[in-house]
């Protein structure tokens, strides 16, 4: 295939086009596609398209884009600008960074959000600098692994004392000792860290604190096994992936590119419901500790927010809400949304400083009492 000509070159040009558009296409997939075309002895363009979908495996949420590129390449139609799909009734956008490989991460996200900006949403990119709380976060990261909330896992580990006998080990030992059981071996279920899901409010009213919150989230992602971070505002955006970068400044910069709704309004109830409506996000919250960093200023209907928090409290292991307003010792929740949601929260606490937030997270594993 080194000096491809004719139809093969045309097919190869399509895979090249896909790569340029941010689809991950491996050489072995291209080969499978060509083999498939030969196999089907295509009688119509539909065969080629179906073979392409099956072998090149575009992610389902990008099917429309994939088809548009296919049409443009093989049928010569004009690539439509990527508007929201016609059937898309969801008023609140859900953005996710995991749809593509490492390289197209930024390009894709920024373009998509640019095309779908509405006047109601204030879109602005923002540079984030590392916070001054570096020392607090360093101490937090060091203390966290030992104090993460844990649950019993499925795997068995051999242990000095435990609930079960480790038959496999005992028989192996016995075989070394001419079939005599020398010692009783025990095992027990392994403990695993619970997932922590962090929702960061990036609306205008939280403007002062978003940087510190992101820095905290970065420290958390780096220090614990399973953490998921989302920002909520006028949109819901998953930023776990950019935050995995080791260097904090880089991670925050990458995250800030993904998030498109800095300092806009808040539609907390809708954002929380949007989270629950995506089954694979909702699955992340199951059995996890949910940490919401928000002042709870809901512009919309407070019942939507209360319903969402109630559902969260049922699927999550623990639901805690940290608001900067609680820094005041005489704090009582006054916003309608927070008042309605309060009965479903395990903890409604002070999120006024990174130190306080870190302290709350470190206390997650302690007794359930707030």
């Amino acid at each position: 295939m080194s000096n491809a000509t004719g139809p093969i070159a045309h097919f190869l040009a399509f895979t090249a086009l896909l790569r340029r558009s941010g689809f991950a296409v491996a050489p072995e997939q291209t080969m499978a596609w060509l083999a498939a075309i030969e196999l089907l002895g295509p009688t119509e363009i539909g065969d080629i398209r179906r073979a392409a979908r099956a072998t090149l495996a575009p992610p389902p949420e990008r099917f429309a884009e994939f088809d548009a590129l296919f049409d443009a390449h093989f049928l010569g139609s004009i690539v439509p600008t990527l508007e929201a799909e016609p059937g898309d009734e969801e008023p609140l956008r859900v953005a996710e960074d995991a749809s593509v490989g490492p390289e197209p991460l930024f390009g894709d996200e920024t373009r998509e959000s640019g095309a779908e900006a509405t006047t109601a949403e204030r879109l602005s990119a923002r540079r984030l600098a590392p916070g001054q709380e570096a020392e607090t976060l360093r101490r937090f990261a060091r203390a966290l692994p030992a104090r993460m909330p844990r649950r019993r896992g499925y795997r068995w580990r051999s242990a000095r004392s435990g609930t079960g006998t480790d038959a496999r080990r005992m028989f192996r030992d016995a075989m070394r000792h001419a079939g005599e059981f020398v010692r009783l071996r025990r095992r027990r279920r392994d403990l695993r860290q619970r997932r922590i899901v962090v929702l960061i409010d990036v609306s205008g009213s939280m403007k002062e604190r978003t940087q510190a919150h992101l820095a905290f989230a970065h420290a958390l992602v780096r220090a614990a096994d399973a953490v998921e971070v989302f920002t909520i505002g006028t949109r819901l955006t998953r930023i776990t992936r950019p935050l995995r970068l080791k260097n904090r400044a880089q991670a925050l910069a990458a995250a800030s590119l993904v998030v498109a709704d800095w300092d806009g309004g808040t539609r907390l109830g809708e954002a929380l419901n949007a989270f629950l409506a995506v089954p694979r996000f909702a699955a992340l919250a199951r059995g996890a500790a949910l940490v919401v960093l928000s002042d709870g200023l809901e512009r919309g209907d407070p019942t939507g927010m209360a319903d969402a928090v109630a559902r969260f409290s049922r699927i999550a292991w623990k639901t805690i809400w940290l608001t900067p307003l609680a820094a005041d010792p005489g704090f009582e929740p006054r916003t309608a949304g927070l008042v309605a949601a309060r009965p479903f929260l395990d903890v409604l606490g002070d999120g006024g400083s990174v130190e306080r937030i870190c302290a709350h997270v470190l206390q997650l594993a302690d007794a359930r009492a707030a």
């Binding site: 089907l40 179906r50 079939g179 089954p279």
Partner: protein, 295 residues
């Protein structure tokens, strides 16, 4: 790439579609193309889709069409090689050792009779008689996914005491995922991929008529319309195809026992929506939805 043009007499996606229909599975053109390509190219078939769209059913139907036994490996968090590949039968090895010890003989405790075969090993040893279904791969840990990657590229495994076991022919492997998490890119690209969506109303209706017994066409039509409407609601668990079939059957049963029509649907709503929150969410509008569906 070893390409086989025909597998048990099936030489094109259309022929596979017809064979699947005979096995009571209605596949659309996309699915039959993907499945045919997977069989012909000797690659694993990765089926993704929401719960209840018939991924596992598709695997069963394909195994049926090929006339092979389906080996199902259900994934779960913490699944390991002992559950997926093989395990030594320690108690039997022990007994054999003791017996031999008493009679002073020499025994090989790593013989076949001491090996407990798990689905993946069974599939490697009898690739022509089996279809391996690795179900809900998204539930397993990342470690298992990496281990699977190795298995799916070479179709061989090594047992330290026995050496390498290799399939003499590429086995048929089907993987399913509910997409609760993103699978590793390397796993996706080893497979032929198909995303199973909820069926079109027309196809769902034909599925109900084929799968359910004694359901009238009008009932099936109403169920399809109502279920289609429910799938647009923000529910925790969207009704799948199996739920639609059950609803049609349940409502028909209630109707035969004397419950009038819209009521028969409403009273059997529990087979479609299995979450209290969802029921509460839908309750104020269910009458309107049913009336619209029956129109």
């Amino acid at each position: 790439m070893a390409v086989r043009h025909t597998i048990v007499g099936i030489g094109s996606p259309r022929e596979l579609e017809a064979a699947l229909r005979a096995a009571y599975y209605l596949a659309d053109e996309e699915l039959s193309t993907a499945a045919y390509l997977a069989l012909a190219l000797g690659k694993p078939l990765l089926l993704e889709g929401a719960p209840g769209v018939g991924k596992t059913e598709a695997a069963k139907a394909i195994a049926g069409v090929l006339g092979r036994t389906l080996l199902r490996l259900q994934c779960y968090e913490g699944i390991d090689a002992a559950g997926a590949l093989y395990e030594w039968n320690f108690p039997r090895q022990m007994l054999a050792l003791r017996q031999e010890g008493a009679y002073g003989g020499d025994i090989d405790i790593y013989r076949d009779e001491f090996l407990i075969e798990r689905p993946m090993l069974a599939c490697l040893r009898r690739p022509q008689e089996t279809v391996l279904l690795i179900d809900e791969i998204d539930r397993s840990d990342h470690e298992f996914e990496a281990f699977l990657l190795e298995f799916l590229s070479d179709f061989q495994i090594s047992i330290p005491e026995r050496g390498t076991i290799r399939a003499y022919e590429r086995p048929v492997v089907i993987l399913t995922s509910n997409r609760t998490r993103e699978l590793h890119e390397a796993l996706r690209r080893r497979c032929v991929y198909h995303w199973i969506d909820y069926p079109t109303p027309d196809r769902e209706m034909r599925i109900i008529m084929m799968r359910a017994s004694g359901v009238s066409e009008r009932t099936a039509h109403a169920v399809v319309a109502a279920v289609g409407r429910l799938r647009r609601e923000p529910l925790a668990k969207l009704p799948g195809i199996a739920e639609a079939v059950e609803w049609a059957e349940a409502a028909t049963l209630l109707n035969e026992q004397g419950t009038r029509w819209p009521d028969a649907f409403r009273r059997s709503l529990g087979v479609v929506l299995k979450d209290e929150d969802d029921l509460v969410h839908v309750a104020p509008r269910i009458d309107a939805i049913l009336a619209e569906a029956q129109a």
